[in-house]
Symmetry: D2
Subunit: 161 residues, 4 copies
């Protein structure tokens, strides 16, 4: 694959997560690896682990940007643990390192990541996740889908430098 066409996609979402979300995330990870994208995530469990598991099964590269001080906290499918030691401030790095973000489920941490992505003009594909309104006006910035393969295709299309 042409190095210049390599894409960087982050997968964010709940930890823990539901079995349905886990399956979505694993399929997303698998498909990203099949298409040659590098998977970036927060390196922990739940959606992050499922996505890494899928990507690893297809020989993909998985990067886990960890909040704490030890690479031992990475899930077993992280190929390169990045040990930040900066706590949840690492959420911003997960987002900024991506050309597009796929959000699956998730809590307030995921909402913070979606916000940072939108603030930085990074496209977000949303699956079963948050929606929000500003002063009563719905915000329709998320690209919504329920299909993991569609999510990956959308992310790769929207991914720009």
């Amino acid at each position: 694959m042409n190095k210049n066409k390599r894409k960087y996609i982050s997968v964010i979402g709940g930890y823990p997560c539901s079995p349905e979300e886990s399956l979505m995330a694993e399929t997303v990870g698998r498909e990203l690896a099949k298409q040659g994208a590098i998977l970036i995530c927060g390196g922990e469990g739940g959606v992050m682990e499922a996505a890494c598991k899928g990507a690893q099964a297809e020989g993909g590269i998985t990067i886990g940007i960890l909040p704490g001080d030890s690479r031992r906290t990475a899930n077993p499918y992280v190929m390169v643990p990045i040990v930040t030691g900066i706590g949840s401030a690492r959420n911003i790095i997960v987002v900024k390192s991506a050309q597009a973000v796929i959000a699956i489920g998730g809590g307030y941490g995921t909402l913070s990541e979606i916000s940072f992505a939108l603030k930085n003009g990074i496209p977000v594909i949303g699956m079963n996740t948050w929606n929000f309104s500003r002063k009563g006006e719905p915000d329709n910035s998320l690209v919504l889908t329920d299909n993991p393969v569609d999510a990956v295709n959308l992310a790769l299309e929207l991914a720009e430098y």
Copy 2:
């Protein structure tokens, strides 16, 4: 005032902001200072500047946690500029340093701060700001008000160690 009763309240919100939001923020800042609270904010313009202006007028202490590398970027009503150089990751510090947060208007940066506060169990008083739903379920974590003095009283009541 008893040192042990000193409260730390962050004011977050839009930059720029509407005249209505600016007035709200200034009144909030004034009232916080009157009640002896220390005002923490992101140190820039808009809602942050208006809040600092109000607090300074009442002799309050104002802390501005700046994203960039220079204290020159602080608004003129910041008494203590904290120069982080960590960009928007400083949003998390603005939130974590507070016992309660007052959100006035704001964009995606404000939404990220609200998310971080809720994730960390820090109460958020919302004025004319975001609302959000998770998987279709409305999230009612924000305490809503349109009255700046009420906002301050609520923040001080909810502020805990």
Copy 3:
């Protein structure tokens, strides 16, 4: 005092520290407060606590930029705890927020802070602390003194915007 003349000085150093260093730091804190400067530090024990204690005794403002997630870890003389949650990356904020730095004793954390200060062109007054050579050439960037009052006067003279 003219607001525009307010100076921001960081005191860095060992935790724990020797009784001699503690005394130096307390005198430094006292003198900074007497001269109207705002004291910034890492908010923990040792040199940081002694400096805050001295400053508080003279009615000074003390800012503690904490590594962890709780303001409870601040020493009792910190007036405004800044809760960063970013671990030792907060060392950089301690340095960048100052117009001049006074280093008293200290270990590798202090050495990292001295390095960051010099990299950013912030003057460092050294008391009983590190010295270093690059490729065998001694680096004489630190201004050395054994006298705490001299240290404060030097810091205030060298402090620029």
Copy 4:
């Protein structure tokens, strides 16, 4: 290679750097890749770029932990740019993500990284770089060598979890 034996080594040093340092760094990068290690660095020019160039020539994985907000600032031999946006606070992540650090030349930024590594108990191999004394006592924590292949062998031997 056994995944569990994969090692993470950071290369730090001057930007810009001398031709001699550039050659050292390139040989270090090459040798790290040959031995299956993943190369982590700050992602910029000078020593970082030379090390990545050497590693890429041998098909190694290169991670660049960037200070700014754009992956465009990565040198052309970085395979995975991590976009932190946290400025020089990213130095700490470069160090914490490694099991051992190789320092080649460098200025105050490199000295800060060496300090953080030693503070965190991460072994540092020094080539043509800083040395330092605490209160007049020389600190001999750095493992010194002039030979890039020796540097890599030492780093891999010392690399522990």
